[in-house]
């Protein structure tokens, strides 16, 4: 399978990365090189093989459903580019 310029632009939008026409053209070539490389996986007979979900056999750990952390709003917003009263500030999303 290979991607065309339109697909690259669509994927860039899905990934929320702005691309110029020139970027998209370069990426089309690069992505097709990589997709060409991974194509060989189709040779492998995977009938009856379960996809891996966990590399080491482990049971999901459980813990008591109690509050163990919190009350650190100031820490959480400390690195944000724009905040007000412990809220993250973003451009208007709803009119």
């Amino acid at each position: 399978m290979s991607v065309d310029l339109q697909t690259v632009k669509r994927v860039a939008h899905l990934a929320r990365i702005a691309v110029s026409e020139e970027d998209a053209e370069r990426m089309t070539g690069e992505l097709n090189t990589i997709l060409g490389f991974v194509e060989q996986l189709n040779e492998v007979d995977v009938s009856g093989v379960e996809p891996m979900t966990s590399v080491t056999p482990m049971e999901m750990k459980e813990r008591q459903d109690v509050v163990t952390d919190g009350s650190k709003a100031a820490d959480i917003v400390a690195n944000a580019p724009a905040t007000e009263e412990n809220f993250f500030l973003v451009p208007k999303v709803v009119e």
Partner: protein, 521 residues
């Protein structure tokens, strides 16, 4: 002072405990080595001199009371991927500009609890994506190793002062260092370069596809990627969560064992962290390997592999045989599919993990006319080319209609790769010996590698299988190639059997000797 930087961790530990040296002295020695070397090698992206001095002072106080921890007063470098409270933690990406976490990663917290001293944060490929440390926003790291050539020099007839001797003109061979700058490998290039150039006693690193072992091999250092789950991933900036593992890079096998003992733990904050006690890895060093079964996988003999590497592998086999190990030929039939499967699984996980860099909560923000444009502009400006490439691949393979063809297929192949290893271990093989990398260190801005992303990816061909199967792997220096550059061998072990790796790697180290670059920086 400078020779203090040449002590191994075990030597420094003995001298610190014996009060022959102080933590303050050894810390100052490293700080001054960094000051003079870093403008050339670019291994550190942030030096925390004040913090280092404070920590050293506290270590000296504890040592004075005979209370020192396992790493008391040992100065370490920390890869920029580990969250360190109040200190530069940016995964060497522009998108994390000025990020200073309000928390400490579990691995680094374990090191500080054992008394280690932080010298600063080490350069790396952006978000650990790269094999040459050239994708860093902070520029490439330079390998302290350079190629050299052997010249036959005609010795002039010399008179050496009064009472000196007169030597008749003869010939001798001398190594001449080449000026070309080489990469230290990646993504933990800063860690490897700093350890090899004596800019820290040891370093933390991480390995998703080979990012500890390949740079260790390129710099003549020892690097171990432990079993998935051995070191907590809490506070380590995520790249591909099912593959990422932290581990040390050190100057010898014993030092790597000492560091891993402190880094590893069970951590309730990481649900994939394993509930097993951490063994005393150092205790196995020096134990004989007589009767151990060492597997040699035929699939690791790849086309176009340099003769030097094949010869090194044969030497490794001979050393282990001499030490009493039984050598057996094995087959890991799905080896060649590990790298293509990795280039689906890792980018898919990365595209999801890196979705959080949106200009809202931390780091860079580039304004836009609305929130979507802000996201898109921020991410376009904040991520470098390699990172964007991987996010794009990951987004594509996870997008509607392609998930089964790519991601599901890759995860099935991953099951088969792991099964290959399970079969040979079930047949009684204790450890597997392979080359660590398909070549020695290459040049900075290598045209071939930079024009074709897949060529760069092939660096990880021998290491990536281990991540795909979640196994432990160690890279140990085993010799120099014809151009005087270090080469490494890799040992792969059963899950949570890091002890066998240290034990066997030490046998190789004893036979091969240790390697250090000639100082030019």
């Amino acid at each position: 002072m400078s020779d203090l930087t040449h002590l191994t961790i075990s030597e420094a530990r003995a001298k610190l405990r014996g009060k022959e040296i102080s933590a303050a002295e050894i810390t100052e020695a490293y700080l001054s080595a960094i000051e003079s070397a870093n403008p050339v090698l670019n291994a550190y992206v942030a030096v925390t001199a004040d913090k280092a001095r404070e920590m050293a002072k506290a270590s000296d106080a504890r040592l004075g009371k005979g209370e020192g921890g396992a790493l008391e007063g040992i100065p370490l470098g920390i890869k920029d991927l580990f969250a360190t409270e109040g200190v530069h933690t940016q995964a060497c990406s522009h998108v994390l500009d000025d990020f200073k976490p309000r928390y400490e990663s579990t691995v680094t917290a374990n090191l500080w609890a054992d008394g280690a001293v932080m010298l600063g944060k080490l350069n790396m490929d952006e978000f650990a994506m790269g094999s040459s440390n050239e994708t860093s926003y902070y520029g490439p790291v330079i390998n302290p190793w350079r190629r050299s050539r052997l010249d036959t020099v005609v010795m002039p007839t010399t008179h050496q002062g009064d009472g000196g001797f007169v030597s008749a003109g003869g010939t001798k061979t001398a190594r001449t260092l080449d000026n070309a700058q080489l990469v230290p490998g990646g993504s933990s290039g800063g860690s490897a370069s700093a350890v090899a150039a004596f800019l820290c006693a040891g370093a933390t690193a991480t390995d998703t596809g080979g990012s500890i072992r390949q740079p260790a091999a390129f710099t003549g250092t020892v690097g171990i990627k432990p079993t998935y789950g051995r070191c907590s991933r809490w506070g380590v900036v995520a790249f591909a969560s099912s593959l990422d593992q932290a581990g040390p890079i050190a100057r010898d096998v014993r030092d790597a064992a000492i560091l891993l003992k402190s880094m590893a733990s069970s951590d309730p904050k990481d649900t994939t962290s394993v509930d097993r006690p951490v063994p005393d890895y150092e205790a196995v060093i020096g134990k004989p390997i007589k009767g151990m079964k060492v597997g040699i996988p035929k699939e690791y003999r790849v086309d176009g592999m340099p003769e030097d590497i094949e010869a090194l592998w044969q030497k490794g086999i001979a050393w282990l045989k001499d030490a009493g190990a039984e050598i057996v030929d094995i087959s890991l039939p799905h080896t060649k599919y590990a790298l293509p499967a990795y280039y689906i699984v890792a980018p898919a996980e990365a595209s999801s993990n890196l979705a959080r860099y949106d200009g809202v909560r931390y780091g860079l923000r580039v304004p836009g006319k609305d929130i979507v444009e802000m996201y898109e502009k921020t991410r376009a400006a904040g991520f470098g080319r390699e990172v964007k490439r991987r996010i794009m691949i990951g987004t594509y393979v996870l997008s509607a209609g392609y998930y089964d063809a790519y991601y599901l297929q890759a995860q099935k192949v991953r099951t088969l790769i792991k099964r290959d290893f399970e079969n040979v271990f079930a047949a009684g093989v204790d450890v597997i010996l392979t080359p660590a990398t398909p070549s020695a260190a290459f040049g900075v801005a290598d045209e071939d590698m930079n024009s074709d992303p897949v060529k760069m990816y092939l660096n990880d061909i021998f290491t990536v299988t281990v991540n795909m199967a979640g196994l432990p792997g160690i890279s140990v220096p085993a010799g120099l190639d014809g151009k005087g550059l270090p080469l490494g061998l890799q040992l792969i072990g059963r899950p949570f059997d890091e002890e066998t790796l240290f034990q066997t790697a030490h046998v190789i180290e004893q036979a091969a000797g240790k390697f250090q670059p000639e100082k030019w920086w």
